[in-house]
């Protein structure tokens, strides 16, 4: 089994009487991009704050780099970089000054600030006051602050929030590059399944503080059970025809038939069969369940 960079063991956290993290057992392997998925208010940010020791955890429930966090706070924090909620930026300082301030705190050479600005494409706005940055620029500055110490582990809480499509792609590529080329471990939270699917190697799904699913992206795909929808002429006869050929039809609507997706070859085979037997197929496409439906599925299974 690979080395675990993050491990929580039956972690619970309360805000007053309300249980916001419920028996959470995260396992994040070294070198993975762990997509931490869940709707707003599911407990993602709280969990990340616990990992940063900003919120107290009970003894022996949170382990970073194999060491209990409460007794190894500074050592653990030295090896990670984080972006939590809105990027925490001093608005009266320029982007570069924000980075230099962090260099001071981390005892890093100030030249690293320019390097980071270039990495996130903020070189031209280096001397502009960070308070005047757009949301996307602030987000990128936040990421550069997290990357400044060249940490082994990155905790990124909704890092693409507020970014335009280009920005999202850039950050996505940056994360992939950091993990694949530089061997970093990344825990990235999001409420968008589509976002996580594109980058993550592993996924954890959290809802109401409970971890409902944890596994590789392939395992998640298996769970998400995609379907194919076929728009075809003479829908009733086509449905009967498919059934008689051994295909399992899920639903029949006014204009389309829905079947379980198995493979691209099989989808092609269905198409050929229908066409060869005189049906007119106007469209055939794969439908993947959205997060909401996936949640329902997973909760049902649990």
């Amino acid at each position: 089994m690979s080395e675990l960079v993050i491990e929580t063991r039956g972690l619970n956290h309360y805000f007053g009487q309300q249980k916001v993290v419920d028996n959470l057992s995260l396992k994040v392997q070294k070198g993975s991009i762990y997509g931490f998925l869940g709707p707003n208010g599911a407990g993602k940010t709280t969990s990340i704050k616990i990992l940063l020791n900003l919120l107290k955890s009970q003894k022996d429930t949170v382990y970073l780099f194999g060491k209990e966090i409460n007794s190894n706070r500074i050592k653990s924090l030295k090896r990670l970089g984080a972006l939590v909620e809105q990027p925490a930026i001093y608005a009266h300082l320029s982007g570069k000054e924000n980075l230099i301030n962090r260099c001071i705190l981390l005892s890093i050479n100030k030249r690293k600030a320019d390097e980071m600005l270039a990495l996130v494409g903020l070189t031209e706005a280096a001397d502009k006051k960070a308070g005047k940055y757009s949301l996307g620029m602030k987000q990128r500055l936040g990421i550069s602050l997290a990357l400044l110490s060249d940490p082994e582990l990155l905790l990124l809480d909704e890092p693409t929030n507020g970014l335009d499509p280009n920005g999202i792609i850039e950050i996505r590529n940056l994360m992939i590059e950091l993990a694949s080329k530089h061997g970093k471990t990344i825990l990235v939270s999001s409420h968008l399944l589509s976002e996580i699917e594109r980058i993550a190697t592993h996924v954890g799904i959290i809802n109401k503080g409970k971890l409902l699913f944890q596994g590789t992206i392939t395992e998640l795909h298996d769970l998400s059970k995609p379907t194919i929808e076929i728009e075809v002429s003479d829908i009733d006869r086509a449905s009967e025809f498919l059934k008689s050929n051994g295909f399992e039809v899920n639903t029949i609507e006014e204009k389309k038939i829905s079947l379980m997706y198995k493979s691209a070859e099989e989808s092609g085979k269905i198409n050929t069969l229908l066409v060869q037997n005189g049906f007119t197929v106007s469209s055939i496409y794969q439908v993947r369940k959205d997060l909401e439906h996936l949640f329902l599925d997973i909760t049902k299974n649990n």
Binding site: F15, N53, L77, K78, A82, A88, I89, Y90, E97, I104
Partner: protein, 260 residues
């Protein structure tokens, strides 16, 4: 120690372009300039009286001391306590600050120490500027005899007492500004405290030393009156005890500060 020093350095770096930092320099510069200008413009009238050098220095430095000690210093201390904390409240940076691989106590202590340093710089500048401007007046106005006495020793002592007497207020206000992110609550508490402090100190209430806000005013009243030679007076002790207690209490508040 290293964590404390780098945190202190960062505090300076963060605030070097803010009013909080510049106030420490501008406040003494402004007040001393105004008083010097007043003495300069009144020089014809005043030099006729031929005050002895000691009395002249007393009048001259007393002008700054009385406004500063009674009113401006307590307000300045409140403003400092607010500013060093507000920089984190305003930018929502407390969580990032405490997620740095630094000892939490060092981060807190550096903030407190930075406010202490700024007050120290401000009061030191008062001493320096009072001394320099007095000597400048002597050069500009023939009738003034500021050169006959060197007031540096006494001035330093009075301002050092003022400095120490302000630390109780600082610690108390520091806690208020840690808890509340807005300016009104700590300012409101401070305002009431200052009024109570001035009244109790000037009326000579025997338990005035129990109110931190009365300490600077008590220092000034004592300087004018009975025991000018004693350095560690009751209000100084009291201020230092308050400072220590509230400083420690503040750390527990920071350590338990919710990062929800």
């Amino acid at each position: 120690m290293h964590a404390l020093l780098i945190s202190l350095k960062s505090e300076f770096y963060k605030s070097r372009k803010t009013l909080a930092f510049w106030a420490a320099i501008l406040l003494p510069l402004l007040i001393c300039s105004l008083i010097a200008f007043g003495f300069f413009s009144q020089s014809a009238r005043m030099s006729k009286v031929h005050y002895p050098a000691e009395a002249l220095w007393m009048m001259y430095s007393g002008s700054a001391l009385s406004v500063m000690g009674m009113l401006i210093l307590p307000f300045y201390v409140i403003f400092m306590a607010f500013s060093v904390n507000n920089i984190e409240h305003k930018n929502d940076t407390w969580k990032t600050l405490f997620a740095q691989p630094l000892n939490k106590f060092s981060i807190y202590a550096a903030k407190y120490l930075y406010a202490v340093l700024l007050i120290f710089i401000c009061l030191s500048l008062f001493v320096l500027l009072t001394y320099l401007s007095g000597n400048l007046l002597h050069l500009l106005v023939k009738g003034y005899n500021f050169n006959e006495v060197n007031p540096l020793g006494l001035l330093s002592k009075v301002y050092l007492k003022l400095f120490l007497s302000s630390l109780g207020i600082l610690s108390l206000q520091f806690i208020a500004s840690l808890i509340w992110s807005d300016f009104l609550k700590p300012m409101g508490i401070g305002f009431i405290g200052i009024i109570a402090g001035i009244i109790t100190a000037t009326k000579g209430w025997e338990y005035a030393y129990l109110i931190p806000y009365s300490h600077p005013a008590m220092v000034l009243t004592a300087t004018k009156g009975k025991e000018p030679q004693v350095f560690f007076t009751q209000e100084i002790y009291s201020s230092l005890v308050y400072a220590a207690i509230f400083f420690i209490l503040g750390y527990f508040i920071v350590a338990r500060k919710s990062m929800k």
